[in-house]
């Protein structure tokens, strides 16, 4: 719990780190309907693609320097020496980032979803999907950033971007299921299954990558 508390403290004091991505997300959500001349029906159809892409890009932006500062100032070095369980610290860090950035984005995305579709029921269905998918994005992009920790973040992120294409395809299917009033819970369970594997494996892989960078 102490690790989570400290990561909260660090992230909340860096308002640029969490407020920036949330504001960018809001900006995209507001700007999109203002910049395209489409009917309400077309807007509702294309809204979800924008929602997923915006969430993806904003999480990519949010995780840009998730490990960089700790690496540069020697904090990760101390963690590697003192703490036996580096993967737990990394998992906690990603969790805090998701809690501070991913959860607000999911809630804001849901509000925009209800506003655009004028259906409150859509909101109830989209919120859990957004929560799970932003956590998956957060983990995968953290992995990418760890890969290119000493070489600039963009390369690692670009390498990991294709890994998220199956998630985007599933998210597309979720929207189709919701639109046609089909049972979408299968897709949600699939996303939860993917997430449960990812949160076990990715922090472990990242801890190995970071130890390799420290060496």
């Amino acid at each position: 719990m102490q690790v989570i508390k400290f990561e909260f403290l660090k992230l909340l004091k860096k308002s640029r780190g969490w407020l920036g991505p949330i504001l960018v997300f809001i900006l995209i959500m507001i700007a999109y309907p203002l910049t395209v001349e489409v009917s309400d029906v077309e807007l509702k159809q294309s809204f979800f693609s924008i929602l997923w892409i915006a969430a993806l890009l904003v999480i990519m932006l949010a995780t840009e320097d998730i490990f960089l500062e700790d690496f540069n100032d020697g904090t990760l070095e101390q963690y590697a020496i003192l703490q036996k369980n580096l993967s737990f610290i990394i998992g906690s860090k990603v969790f805090v980032y998701w809690l501070v950035i991913g959860v607000p984005i999911s809630i804001i995305g849901t509000i925009f979803c209800v506003g655009t579709t004028s259906q409150t029921a859509f909101g109830y269905q989209i919120l859990p999907v957004l929560l799970v998918s932003t956590y998956i994005f957060m983990n995968v992009f953290s992995f990418g950033n760890a890969l290119s920790l000493t070489k600039g973040s963009v390369l690692g992120t670009l390498v990991t971007l294709p890994l998220l294409l199956p998630i985007l395809i599933i998210l597309g299917k979720v929207v189709v299921a919701i639109n046609f009033d089909l049972n979408y819970s299968g897709f949600l369970l699939l996303l939860l299954g993917i997430l449960s594997i990812i949160i076990m494996i990715i922090p472990m892989i990242i801890s190995y990558i970071i130890r390799a960078h420290l060496e």
């Binding site: 400290f6 403290l9 004091k13 100032d73 904090t75 070095e77 101390q78 590697a80 020496i81 060496e215």
Partner: protein, 188 residues
């Protein structure tokens, strides 16, 4: 067992360049080892090996302590955007019974609410050194601990290290500034 570290025939290579080779030493409890060498000779790399951060290309290194190793390196591991108090909490030192004593010794007790970015380099180094002064380790690894410290603080550091040696702790350090306490030398 009286030994804290045993190193046998250590070598380290970066790409094809040999940094050092055939380094062997043993550190006993209550003893200090001064790693000496020119810039770029591999002193920091050797210290990081003892901490377990870097693996030797060849050779064996065993650390025989159950407690965590205290390492003070070039990087201070403090957050510039947090104040001193928050940094102490991050270092898990905020509840240490000797904290107030060392804050007073280093004249930091009135700077607890000041952001690290507003402190001088020397003051930042003193905060990083609190990790050493409030350590819970048997083995202290110090890489140039005196950089940025004034003469008075260097004397406090030397006195502290003498006490730690008397308490049976082991110290491995590198320093271009002379530290006045008994230690063996290892040239690389």
């Amino acid at each position: 067992m009286n030994a804290l570290v045993k190193a046998q025939n250590l070598s380290y290579k970066i790409n094809d360049k040999k940094l050092f080779q055939g380094i062997s030493f043993e550190l006993l409890k209550g003893k200090a080892l001064h790693i000496q060498g020119e810039n770029g000779s591999g002193k920091t790399t050797l210290l990081r090996m003892v901490c377990g951060l870097t693996k030797p290309t060849k050779g064996d290194l065993i650390t025989l302590t159950d407690k965590e190793v205290c390492f003070i390196g070039h990087k201070n591991a403090i957050k510039q955007y947090l104040n001193v108090e928050d940094n102490l909490a991050l270092m898990n030192l905020n509840n240490h019974h000797d904290l107030q004593k060392y804050l007073s010794v280093f004249d930091l007790d009135k700077s607890l609410d000041i952001n690290i970015a507003n402190l001088s380099f020397g003051q930042q180094k003193k905060i990083a050194l609190l990790r050493l002064f409030l350590n819970r380790s048997d083995l202290l690894i110090l890489d140039e601990p005196c950089v940025g410290l004034d003469t008075n603080s260097q004397e406090i550091l030397v006195d502290f290290l003498k006490k730690e040696l008397a308490n049976g702790k082991g110290i491995i350090y590198s320093s271009h500034i002379f530290l006045d306490f008994d230690s063996d030398s290892l040239g690389i």
